[in-house]
Symmetry: C2
Subunit: 154 residues, 2 copies
Amino acid sequence: MNDLDVTRDDFIEKIGLIAQAEGLPRIAGRIFGLLVFEGRLINFSDLATRLQVSRGSISSSIRLLEERGLVKRTTRPGERQEYFQLAADPYVSLLEGARRRTRRARDDIRDSLNALPENQADIRKRLGAYAEFYDAIDDGLASAVSRLTSRKDP
Amino acid sequence: MNDLDVTRDDFIEKIGLIAQAEGLPRIAGRIFGLLVFEGRLINFSDLATRLQVSRGSISSSIRLLEERGLVKRTTRPGERQEYFQLAADPYVSLLEGARRRTRRARDDIRDSLNALPENQADIRKRLGAYAEFYDAIDDGLASAVSRLTSRKDP
DNA sequence: CATTTCGTTCAGTTGTTATTGAACAAACTA
DNA sequence: TAGTTTGTTCAATAACAACTGAACGAAATG
């Protein structure tokens, strides 16, 4: 195993851990890492052998990654295996997912706020500040999205 | 149990679930929710009884919340019990924590990038884009922080 | 001094999610 | 046709984190 292999495997493991910290299965992160590193089509069984995991795990993690818009599935004419690669804008998809979760939290809090009687001004104020926190995050992530998209548009 | 109690308990449970989705123990989220809702000092045993959980759980979750700068512990002269309340700027602390994790991920990726030989321009480019994704998040969260802090400074 | 209260620690339990591996259907191959 | 390969599903297991509750030391109280 040469230097490049070591660097790659090290990278893949790191991304697995990052994914795990963000609530994704570690294997999903490792697939993502491999696809980022290689930057080309990789077929199903290669994923299983290179990451040393069962086909079942590849199947379910790939499904997750597809649902989140991070990975695309392709087939080649005449070939039976399915190939996978990074989606066009995986990072934007990740940010959009984070924004959705953020806004959902904000809405939950707003619902509680709206259920409060008018005379509970102090509680309303605190829940309002909490909701604004999520609004601030949402805006921040929105500006991250535009930064990523503007970079390549022109 | 009146309307306000229902709204409060509902809110507390919601925050517990949000916390859980963000990788914190549910009980930590419920404590946070209770403190946001009440907006005043609450003592240790009240936390345990009102949230119907063991003292051990309160102890460990409070420790987590303190470590993250979300909750402050206080004592009152002549009283033996310890009191807890929201920290001054809990939302800023949350954002700073998120920024730290973001930058750590970016640094991990940069380390891999730097371990690559110069002639791997394509791989370097892809890892670079990945690292920039985290930079964009960090900047977005930074602007969320300034939005939250500027709001009350003047 | 004995007793009570307070918060922490830690071993054990519970509950949840990730992962495997066998079974399966579909699509090819010989 | 029988046999292979491919990806999915699902039941069982492994791995992990949350949570409990008993034990504990410290500090107060009587």
